[in-house]
Structure formats: C-alpha cells, structure tokens
C-alpha cells in the first residue's frame, strides 16, 4: 500500500512542479516562412465592429504589421534606440519619456503626468531578450517569437521610432475581421490547430509543461515535426490576430487611464480569442502575455 502512496506522491509532485521557464536543451526552431518585416494593406471602408456587429467606418487605407514584433526586432530596436538616446537603461529597466496623458479626474482614473516610464524590465524571468550591459540580444530559439514584457509606453515608443504607431482598437479589429461577421480572424471556429491559446497543446507548450509563446506566423497551414497547423491569417493576410500574446492598442480614452489590448493570449481560453474581446491595464503594465504590432498610413 505504501508503494502506491509513494507513486502517487511522485506523480503529484511531477505535475505540480512542471512550470514554465525558457526551455533549455534542444529547443525547437521553426522557419515559418512568414516575414515579420511585412505589412498588410487594409483598405478604407465599413466593417462590422464588436460582438453586436455595429457598422463602423474607417475612412482611410492603412498598413498593419503582418505579425507581432519579434524578440529580434525589439532587441535590434533597443540597441539602436539606446545609442540614439531615444530610450535609456536605468538599472534593471529600460525607460523612456512620455509627454503625459490628458487627465479628466474621473473616478478610478489615475493621472499619467509627463516623465520617464518603464518600457521593459530586464530582470523578469519571462523576458526572452538578454542584456549583457552593452547590447541586447534575443535568447537562442526565441528570435522569431513575439517580444513580451513591453509596457504600453515601450510599445508606443518602438512604433514611433520607426515612424509608425500603435493601431487603435477600431483599426485592429478591422484588420482582424475584415468586412464580414466572422468571430475569429480565419473564420467561424477555433481549433487547436488555429492558434496558441490556453491548453492548445502546441509543440512549445508540450515542451515547457505549460503555455509558451510560438513563433510569429507559426499557424499558417504548415506541419512542423508532425504538428499540423491551419492558416490563421485574417482576410487581409495578417497573422496571429488571435492567440499567442495580447497586443497593445493605441487609444487613450477619455475619463480613464487604461490602455486596451486585443487578440487574447496563450494564457486564455479560446473564447478570449474572438475578435471583439479586449483586455486592459495601466500603460506601465508588463506581462509575459503581452506584445504588440504597429500600424502605418501610406
């Protein structure tokens, strides 16, 4: 009887301590074939916004990044931005200047005055970018994974550094949904082959023992070491508009200091991946489940 107890306790302990950190050893690297430098054109026009399908007009064309910003892209940016004084390293943090938000004094609204704000915390164990005191490099294997643990200030600064900006919620949703009533960027149903969400059992999740990021554009119809994916591109060819990591959007709404995120993440159940679902946090919020992509108007 005691032997069974020991086996049970051992299995129990194995289950409990299987936690997520950077995967070490043979880390799978996959070339998805999707270029993170690519931009997709979203033409002007009406679309149905939100769960209740409100007709909404976007009166201009715009381009949105085909994928999330990757660790490689963000590491390159940091090296360049630090050198040019756009941001600076202050102890464990990358910080940068923000001119402040309009403060309306509404209940629960917090004032965001002008000043330096954190863009990234270099000590967070969930970060996949290493800093050796002089240069930033993406961690091996995570080069084409989405950058995470970037605050809204950091995301905004990145986009502005490259003469672009964060998409508004309206722009983001149109890029994800197109002009029909689909609930997911690719269509009407979500499966584990479509996106990285909670317990979707992709190859990285299986290795880490819990959810981890997948390379940008991973779910594009390819099969990786036997793991089948379906193409999750939106009607405009934008990848990963559902799952992997949340994406900051740019709106600064009246009477609140929250910034909004879209798309759901690897830590959320599939229903959070519906195109109208959002999340919010203060602009200084850092999370291993939050990244971003940029938008530009031609």
């Amino acid at each position: 009887m005691k032997r069974y107890h020991l086996i049970f306790i051992a299995l129990f302990a194995l289950l409990l301590f299987a936690c997520a950190g950077p995967i070490e050893g043979d880390f799978p690297t996959f070339d998805t074939g999707i270029d993170p430098e690519g931009w997709a054109l979203v033409p002007a026009g009406e679309f149905y916004m939100g769960q209740h399908e409100h007709e909404t007009m976007v009166e201009y064309d715009y381009e949105i990044m085909v994928t999330h910003v990757t660790n490689t892209q963000f590491a390159n940016y940091l090296n360049q931005a630090v050198e040019e004084g756009w941001v600076e390293v202050d102890g464990e943090e990358v910080v940068g200047y923000h001119p402040g938000d309009q403060y309306d004094g509404h209940k629960h609204e917090e004032e965001i005055p002008a000043g330096d704000y954190v863009h990234m915390n270099l000590e967070d164990p969930g970060l996949r970018i290493a800093f050796d005191g002089s240069a930033f490099v993406p961690m091996s294997g995570y080069e084409n994974h989405p950058v995470v643990l970037v605050s809204w200030f950091g995301a905004k600064a990145y986009c502005e550094f490259y003469d672009s900006r964060l998409p508004t919620e309206v722009e983001w949703e149109k890029a994800a949904r197109g002009t029909d009533l689909r609930p997911y960027p690719w269509g009407d149903e979500v499966t584990k082959e479509h996106a990285n969400f909670y317990s979707s059992h992709d190859v990285f999740e299986k290795l880490a023992g819990s959810s981890d990021t997948t390379p940008v554009g991973f779910f594009n119809g390819q099969t990786y070491d036997g793991f089948i994916t379906f193409d999750n591109a939106s009607p405009y060819g934008v990848y990963d508009m559902a799952g992997n990591v949340w994406q900051w959007t740019g709106d600064d709404y009246e009477d609140q200091h929250y910034r909004y995120m879209r798309g759901g993440s690897k830590e959320n159940y599939a229903y959070n991946l519906r195109v109208w679902t959002n999340n919010s946090a203060g602009p200084e919020f850092l999370s291993p489940n939050v990244g971003f992509r940029c938008l530009r108007t031609p």
Binding site: A18, Q51, H108, D255, N268, N279, S280, A281, S287, P288
Partner: protein, 491 residues
C-alpha cells in the same frame, strides 16, 4: 398506474419530493453544462459532449447563453427556497400547494425551454416559453409574498422567546416577507431591462464592463439586479437555517430587526445603483446589518449544538475539547453555519479587501485578472449557498449515522478546499508574478478540481440513493409522501 401516481405525488406535491426534483435538475444541468468549460475543455471532453448532444455554440452568442444558464439554475434555487419556506413558515395549506405548483411549473418551463433556446437552436417559441416560465415564477412569488403577509391576526405570536413586537407581530415572518418583496422588486430590475433587449440594450456580462467609466442606466440596472438577487437568495437561506436551528432568545430578538432593516437597506442600495453614485455606501450599511444578523445566528447555533450534544452525552462540566467535539458532532448542522463563517474568508473578506485596495492593487492588474476575481467571487458564493442547501436537504431526507457523517464532512472538506484554492488562485498576483506563477496555478487548480469532484461525487451518490429509493415499494418516499409541512394553519 397507482405506482406512478404515488411517485408523481411524492415528487411534485411533497416538500421533500419537490426539493429533490429541483436539486436533481440543477445537478443534471451542472453535470452536463459543466462539461463545456474549465478543465473539461483541456481534457477534450467538451468536444465529445458537444458532438454527442448537438450543442450549438455560436461564438457571438456565448454571453447570452451563459446568462440564460445562470437564470435557469438561479430559478431552480429560488424554487427550492420557496419549498423550504412554505413548509417552515405557517401558511394555509391551499396557499402552500398553489405557490409550490406555480413555482414548479415556472422554473421547469424556464429551465427546459431556456436551455433549449440557448444551446440547441433559436426557436423563438422556446424563448417565449423561457420568459413565460419566469413570469410564472414571478407570479408564484407574488402569491408567496401575499401568503407571508405578517400582519394577519392568526400569525401573531405570544412566545416571548422569539423576536416580536409588543403587539405580537412575528418579526421572523416579517423578515421572510421583506425578503420576498425585495426579491420581487429586484427581479423587476432584470425584467424591465430585458424588455429593452434588441431595442437599445445589448447582452453583456457584468464582469466585462467593470472598468467602463460610463455605463448606461440599463447596464447599471442589470448590475444591481444580479448582485441583489444573489444576496437575497443568501438572506432567504440564512432565515431558513435559522428556522432549522430553532433560532430564538436574545440573539434572535436582535437579529430579526437587523435582518429586516438590512434587507430593506441593501435592496434600496442595489436598486439605486441605477441613479446615484453613493449607492455603494447604502449597500455597505445594509450588508453590515445582514451580516451581523447572520453572525448572531452562528453564535446561537454553535452554542446550541454544543449544549445539546453535551447534554446528550450526560457530561456535567465539559472541557474545551469536549465542547469542540460536540460542535463537530453533526456535520450537517455544523456545516450549514460553518459555511457562513467560511464565506467571510473567501467572499466577504476578499470583497472588502478588494474594495479598499481597488485602485492601488486590483486596477493595476489587467482586466482579465480582475475578471477572474469577480467571477470567482460570486461562483464561490453560489457554491457555498448550494452546499448549505444540501446540508439542510440531507437532513430533511433522513441521512443518519455514518452516512450523515461521511456526507457532511466530505462536502465541507471538498467545498472548502475547492473554494479556498480558487480564492488563492484568483488572488495569485498578490503572491507571484506572471512569469513565476505556474507552480501556484498547478497547485490551486488541482486542489480546486479535487475538491469540486469530491463534492460532486458525494452529491451524485446521495441522489442515486434517493433515486433507488423511488423504486422500492415502501421506500423513504412513501413515508415522506404525506408530509405536508411543519405548521400549516387550517383555513
């Protein structure tokens, strides 16, 4: 034929039978619909169940489906409480029968057709019947409130052990009456808003709007509605448990006026959320009175449990451990009030802590984290209410001896483990960062799943026991068939 008539009469005409049917219906719904979320999704069971039963889960309709599911379960819980109260509180026999019949038709029609509409295709006749069922339930509530009218001469009491006015007005009955009227008023706040659906009002879950600085009047009305309805269900149950304990004496005399005043205040507070900014202050004041009344019940009840057991054992002067043992002797009776105390750690305490630290802590976290706390908060409260109902019903059903001990303790341990774990899970950001949370998430989820599974297995066994009893010619159901209540007044 008589075989079926007898069983039908038991299940649909006796208090215990009616409560058994409602508990069984809730259990079936919980078991089947529980397969659609949480760990069942992870295990792949959801996909199998969806295919097997032909669920139609349109992504855009998720919130609407969930709202109907919540209503269906809440309606049945309200029906169970009505059955208990019509048996516990003096009223005319014909009033009891009419109320129970109306409420039973109401919740069953709402349950069957509500779920059919929400999960198996949009036949709008089904939707109409869902509304009709709830209307019947409301009508039953009107009859219920009328039957509870405490100012009738025959309901005046003379026993000074119970809370009463000088003129003999029974304040416990008045508390039941006030609760019933407040429930009817609160139901209207949902019904009126529902009538605007598709005409300026859109389906939403309250936890999704929590950070929206500008909510419409109809949205506020729904937020007030859902909060007060659950509160009133809890108040009704506290009064029922008071009856079970034969709550009396000084604590009763103080508790009943507090309960009446608290119920009125908290209801006005929840209703006024629609119009005024300071509504929460009113709610807090009302909550203090209601919780004090519940505290007095717990103090009275535990003292009584100890005294009665010690007397039963013939111990003249009991020491601390003997008293403690006496308190734990009956897990059903102890469990009902213990769960009220436990609720303070997992629901009220968390709620107060959250309200005090809202901007400094909780609103710094992402909305999805806050949402987990909010949904955890009221799921736990609902779960605790369910366990208290089970304790009371298990006693009514005649659970005795070792089975009573096993049932009681397994439900207490299982539910408290689960609710404690869920509380820690929902508040995890106080202890760990997102990057380091996985061991804590694994622990808490495992304990929560284990605890809930334990409760559900015990409940299933209990229901199977009662189901098999129905096949016996002279089972328990036979002796319970003729029980009509505890104190009906002949007209």
């Amino acid at each position: 034929m008589q075989v079926f008539v007898d069983r039908f009469n038991y299940l649909f005409r006796s208090t215990k039978g009616l409560a058994l049917v409602a508990i069984a219906m809730i259990s079936l719904v919980t078991a089947l619909w529980g397969m659609l979320s949480g760990p069942m999704v992870e295990f792949g069971i959801t996909d199998v169940v969806v295919d097997l039963f032909g669920f139609q889960l349109v992504p855009a309709e998720r919130e609407g489906r969930i709202i109907i599911l919540y209503h269906v379960i809440a309606n049945a819980v309200v029906a169970i409480e009505v059955y208990f109260i019509t048996a516990l509180v003096k009223m005319k026999k014909h009033e009891q029968s009419t109320i129970n019949a109306t409420v039973t038709f109401g919740y069953l029609i709402a349950m069957i057709f509500g779920l059919a509409f929400a999960y198996f295709g949009h036949n709008f006749v089904f939707h109409g019947l869902f509304i009709f069922g709830q209307s019947l339930l409301f009508f039953g509530g009107l009859l219920f409130a009328a039957a509870l009218w405490p100012w009738r001469k025959e309901y005046r009491i003379e026993d000074t052990d119970y809370s009463r006015t000088r003129g003999g007005l029974d304040l416990e009955r008045t508390a039941f009456f006030v609760m019933a009227v407040a429930t009817l008023g609160s139901a209207l706040f949902g019904a009126v808003t529902g009538s605007y659906w598709g005409n300026g009002h859109e389906t939403f879950l309250a936890e999704d709007l929590i950070r929206n600085p500008h909510k419409t009047l109809l949205q506020k009305s729904i937020i007030g509605h859902l909060h007060i309805m659950l509160t009133l269900v809890a108040i009704a149950l506290t009064l029922i448990i008071g009856k079970w304990y034969d709550f009396k004496g000084w604590f009763h005399k103080i508790a009943m006026p507090l309960m009446i005043f608290g119920t009125i205040t908290i209801s006005i507070g929840a209703w006024s959320v629609v119009w005024v900014e300071w509504a929460h202050t009113t709610i807090y004041v009302g909550s203090v009175f209601v919780m004090l009344a519940a505290l007095f019940l717990v103090i009275f009840g535990w003292d009584k449990l100890i005294r009665e057991r010690i007397a039963e054992q013939g111990i003249e002067k009991a020491n601390f451990f003997q008293k403690l043992k006496a308190l734990f002797h009956d897990p059903l009776k102890f469990g009902a009030t213990w769960q009220m105390v436990f609720m303070n750690f997992t629901v009220s305490g968390v709620g107060i802590f959250m309200a005090v630290n809202l901007n400094e802590i909780f609103r710094v976290w992402p909305h999805r984290e806050e949402r987990i706390i909010l949904t955890g908060h009221w799921h736990i409260l609902s779960g605790i209410i369910a366990t208290i109902i089970l304790f009371y019903f298990a006693d009514l059903a005649g659970l005795k001896g070792r089975l009573r001990q096993w049932f009681g303790w397994l439900v207490i341990i299982g539910s408290d483990l689960a609710f404690g774990a869920v509380t820690i899970f929902s508040m995890k950001r106080l202890f760990v960062t997102e990057s380091a949370q996985q061991p804590l998430v694994n622990w808490t989820m495992l304990v929560a799943d284990f605890g809930l599974a334990l409760v559900l297995v015990v409940l299933a066994m209990f229901l199977l026991w009662r189901l098999f009893d129905l096949f016996k010619r002279n089972g328990r159901w036979k002796s319970e068939l003729d029980e009509t209540g505890y104190g009906e007044v002949q007209s």
